[in-house]
């Protein structure tokens, strides 16, 4: 294989070589090799030299070439001529020069920055992970706190990432595929579809299945993970907490199985809880107390050897009755009997007992194993969850309950157990850089060592009267917020005296109209902006609200120095290698396309805040002397990237070195991967901190007429129903839900002809999955056109696919299809736009983490004519 030397874009005669770079067809960001022949990329493969994918590449990744060369790409800046904005308004695009475009944008930005910089909203797609730092830096330098990732976070992140952060110091969790013997997936597809470290996990999961790992998939749909599993357990949509809590109850109260030493040493299970549901604290130090069995007294947790801490018992401390948190949990779990679980989730009581028994037995509590010469705890079981489980009103408890399974048996970040993605890094062996380790925070509970932003999951900030448009400074557990676009946003802003309104948006690649919830709510929100500028590859449904479109470079034309950092995001977990790849341009821009990061630098120059932007880059990239950016020097994005790489890996490994080599890697140590025993931190099996947060939010909100449902802020997880579970409307007898399609990314890839072809060959990608028996009862046939109507009257049209592989009450929609824009002729008219059924207001989100509830009770009726 001929790896190119520095690659001028003027192709040499008979040029033929492979260039290392990074994919961007989804946020997995797998490492790729682009085969370029005479200036044309003719093939894309996985890079076998990289730990990110190890040479594997999914169907989307190999098809990226078709997205890049799509003749419908935007090639020139354009300005709308029709001032009227609406879902179906033709903007009347007119080609303009970059000078015209940037002059106008800079003028708008200059005015809004002088007026109130918070009126700028910066918005990005999560598909391109590399967009994070340039856009965050720009927003920070500009002075606005209002940043959004469209549907990302509101659909998949506010629950999964929050709880993975609190319990595993990582963005996501995954079984330790190398050693796990029994994995149970709740609404998750790690290793079987797209997502974080997707291609790496596919290989690891396949190897684990060959090795004999038993895999149980709990999901309303038997799709990509379940199809390869040992067992599929269909459950009623949105009832994951019910099943997980039922299993916890069987393990603790019927089988009496739990890892006492782990709970004593690594969790808050021994902390004493008073009648007010809060810790009983030392009167002077305010440290949480535990019951010291040796002395027979209550003492601060950090004064008592873990082995002496009582996990159960009724005690009295200063006349206050109290019990250890584990005792409270054990009692709390009793109400989730197998029969109750069956009634709630639809999973038979016998199955609940069997799954719990298998999980508890396979955990091998008390066992150890030697890995690379280091003796470590061995717990070869893992329970993981992701978007499916947490995409509900009961988001927090659904995920928390699933993860409790791991913590009850000590299977957290140990060999064979449930792993965070790389929560601990000792840094590069030569420079020590990119080093981070979780630390003990308030009450000894774990604070992440690395995070995607600065909203650490624990400790949560104090709620305050909100100043951010997303209201996350009030609803502090939430990360990304629906309130920028929600139907009740103005009402909320008024309630809380938010002193400004959004006026200008910079959007990078997000199709907000399709990616959040129903299009009408989002359209109404977008129509209020005075000015929107959008970096795009294609015109989208959102473009109809945009004033100026800027033609972005594709990932094959772009540079990014940190395509897989932070390591907690999309570097595979488990043993192996640390790996820092870059993305480099392998093709020149076409037409007048420009990379967005360079455009943002120029805009900062034009508006006059380059010094702020340099300072923001210094902070985001942790640049230290001599690599810090100084003053208002006009660095290019290449120069900034070069400085970051040298800052982390030494002066000899700058951008040119990385362009040649593609990546740097070094071996992971067992104590990094299986870090939990080595780091003196605890995690909460009893979320005591949640109650005061709820009380404080209520104290601010309720005098303003905003009711906080405090049952969601209880320290112990419960099953709390979705709105859909409470719908008794006649004829509304299916729970609609969407799932990630293996050949598509969000609403982005339907325009790709190869992926479209694959989706058309797949019987599910563009159809609505319905249980065959239930369909027959209603006289529905395979391929029949139907209307699907929500309780509130929203309707989408689609074609049914009858299958045995879906829960009888479920109605499954693949991906986010149903485009109607002329800017994407391949995508237009394909599949179903599920999000259009979703309401977008406080009633339809988690009152804790403001994650959207993604299930809808629906009625299915025949369409008069085929769609």
């Amino acid at each position: 294989m001929n790896m190119f030397s520095p690659h001028p874009f003027k192709p040499a005669a008979q040029e033929d070589g492979w260039l290392p770079s990074s994919c961007a067809l989804c946020y997995g960001t797998c490492s790729i090799l682009a085969h370029r022949v005479d200036g044309t990329v003719i093939k894309i493969e996985g890079n076998p030299d990289s730990a990110v994918g190890k040479g594997r590449l999914c169907g989307k990744g190999v098809s990226g070439i078709m997205t890049h060369y799509d003749p419908n790409r935007v090639r020139y800046p354009m300005r709308r001529t029709n001032p009227k904005k609406g879902l179906y308004e033709d903007p009347g695009w007119k080609r303009i020069s970059w000078t015209e475009a940037l002059d106008e944008i800079a003028e708008v930005l200059r005015k809004v920055r002088a007026d109130d910089p918070r009126k700028l909203v910066v918005q990005r797609t999560t598909t391109v992970t590399a967009s994070r730092v340039p856009l965050h830096a720009f927003a920070s330098a500009f002075g606005t706190p209002n940043f959004s990732v469209s549907g990302g976070g509101q659909h998949c992140g506010n629950g999964a990432h929050l709880i993975s952060g609190i319990m595993h110091a990582s963005w996501s969790i995954v079984p330790d595929f190398e050693y796990c013997n029994y994995a149970i997936f709740f609404g998750a597809s790690k290793g079987h579809s797209a997502g974080h470290a997707s291609c790496s996990n596919m290989g690891k999961a396949a190897d684990a299945r060959v090795r004999g790992m038993k895999m149980v998939v709990v999901d309303p749909l038997c799709n990509f993970a379940a199809a390869k599993a040992t067992e599929w357990v269909p459950l009623r949509v949105g009832t994951d907490a019910a099943l997980a809590l039922g299993m916890c109850n069987v393990m603790v109260n019927e089988l009496g199985v739990y890892d006492g030493p782990y709970l004593q040493a690594k969790t808050n299970a021994p902390y004493l809880i008073g009648p007010d549901k809060l810790y009983v604290r030392h009167p002077q130090s305010k440290m949480p107390l535990v019951w010291d069995r040796r002395s027979g007294s209550a003492r601060p947790y950090n004064d008592v050897p873990a082995a002496d801490m009582a996990l159960e018992g009724e005690f009295t401390v200063d006349r206050v009755p109290c019990r250890p948190a584990f005792h409270c949990l054990r009692e709390h779990l009793r109400k989730f009997s197998p029969d109750w679980t069956e009634n709630t989730s639809g999973v038979p009581a016998a199955t609940v007992r069997r799954l719990a028994s298998e999980f508890a037995t396979e955990a091998r509590i008390g066992s150890t194993i030697v890995v690379d010469g280091v003796t470590l705890p061995y717990r070869p079981v893992a329970a993981i969850a992701f978007r499916g489980a947490q995409g509900h009103k009961n988001s927090v408890y659904n995920f928390y309950a699933v993860d409790l399974l791991n913590h009850l048996v000590g299977a957290a970040d140990v060999v064979g157990g449930c792993l965070g993605f790389n929560p601990t890094s000792h840094g590069h062996p030569e420079t020590g850089k990119v080093r981070y380790i979780p630390t003990a925070g308030p009450d000894g509970l774990m604070v992440v060592g690395s995070w995607m932003g600065y909203h650490y999951p624990y400790p949560p900030p104090e709620p305050r009267l909100p100043k951010n448009l997303g209201l996350q400074d009030l609803l502090v557990i939430g990360m990304t917020s629906p309130f920028l676009d929600s139907a009740d946003r103005e009402e909320m802003w008024e309630k809380f005296d938010v002193p400004y309104r959004p006026e200008v948006m910079i959007n990078f690649g997000a199709n907000l109209v399709m990616s959040i919830a129903n299009k009408d709510a989002v359209a109404e929100s977008l129509s209020k902006y005075k000015f929107i500028v959008s970096f795009d590859l294609f015109l989208t449904e959102t473009s109809n609200f945009v004033d100026i479109i800027l033609p972005d470079c594709s990932y094959l034309q772009s540079l990014d120095a940190r395509s897989n950092f932070p390591f907690i995001f999309s570097l595979p977990g488990g043993l192996g290698e640390w790996c820092w790849p870059i993305r480099q341009p392998v093709l020149p821009p076409d037409g007048e396309q420009r990379q967005f990061a360079e455009v943002l630098l120029e805009l900062a120059d034009r508006v006059g805040f380059r010094a702020d932007l340099n300072a923001a880059y210094n902070a985001w990239l942790n640049l230290e002397p001599p690599y810090r950016l100084t003053g208002d020097t006009r660095y290019s994005y290449e120069e900034i990237s070069d400085r970051e790489l040298k800052n982390n890996f030494g002066a000899e490994r700058g951008l040119e070195w990385f362009k040649q080599n593609g990546l740097i890697k070094w071996k992971k140590k067992p104590e990094e991967v299986y870090w939990r025993p080595f780091v003196d931190v605890r995690v909460p099996i009893y979320w005591e901190f949640l109650k005061p947060i709820g009380d404080k939010i209520a104290a601010i909100a309720e005098p303003r007429g905003f009711k906080i449902p405090l049952e969601y802020y209880d320290p112990l997880p419960d099953f709390l129903p979705c709105r859909s579970h409470c719908c008794n409307k006649k004829g509304f007898d299916f729970y609609g839900f969407y799932y990630r399609d293996v050949v598509h990314t969000n609403s982005f890839t339907m325009e790709n002809p190869w992926l479209d072809e694959a989706a058309r060959l797949d019987p599910f990608s563009y159809t609505i999955a319905i249980n065959r028996t239930e369909a027959a009862k209603r006289g529905f046939t395979d391929g029949q056109g139907v209307w699907v109507e929500s309780e509130s009257g929203r309707k989408v049209k689609g074609r049914l696919k009858l299958t045995e592989c879906i829960h009888p009450e479920g109605l499954g929609f693949a991906a986010m299809c149903g485009h109607w824009t002329d800017g994407q002729p391949v995508a237009k008219g394909k599949g179903v736009f599920y999000n259009d059924l979703l309401e977008l207001d406080f009633e339809h989100m988690s009152p804790v983490n403001i994650n959207l509830d993604l299930c809808v009770k629906v009625r299915v009726t025949p369409a008069e004519e085929s769609p």
């Binding site: 965050h136 990732v149 976070g153 030493p261 008390g366 080093r435 902070a619 230290e624 002397p625 104590e671």
Partner: protein, 130 residues
């Protein structure tokens, strides 16, 4: 159940991670009567306080916290509320650099040097998703 977690692992058997980078010790000017500091405010802080740069003279022995306190007095609550929480701890999304090196603990001492000590402060975006 019979093997204790805290007994399984011999922490001394594994290599200690490389120590975290520390603030390099500056060359101290022992004849100096005070510490000259230039604080540069960026992004929202500059916009809120209408100042991009503030020069201060501090007594020997001053801490970073003293700089924040003085700025709070000069620039008002609007500055302080953004930089520190109610208990006086620096907010996580507020990044502060002394001579180009990050400082998390406001109790970090400042030293008299022959030059101005540059302190950069910027608020970053707190939130992320995906």
């Amino acid at each position: 159940m019979n093997i204790r977690w805290d007994a399984v692992v011999d922490s001394t058997a594994v290599e200690s991670p490389r120590a975290p980078p520390v603030l390099p010790q500056p060359i101290v000017d022992r004849n100096s009567a005070g510490i000259s500091v230039r604080v540069r405010l960026f992004g929202a802080l500059a916009a809120l306080s209408c100042q991009q740069s503030v020069e201060l003279m501090l007594p020997v022995g001053a801490l970073v916290a003293d700089v924040i306190a003085i700025l709070g007095e000069r620039l008002g609550e609007i500055f302080s509320a953004q930089v520190v929480d109610a208990s006086g701890v620096k907010r996580r999304y507020c990044r502060l650099f002394v001579a180009g090196y990050p400082v998390e603990n406001l109790q970090t001492p400042l030293y008299p040097t022959s030059d101005l000590t540059e302190i950069d402060i910027i608020l970053l975006i707190a939130l992320e998703g995906g």
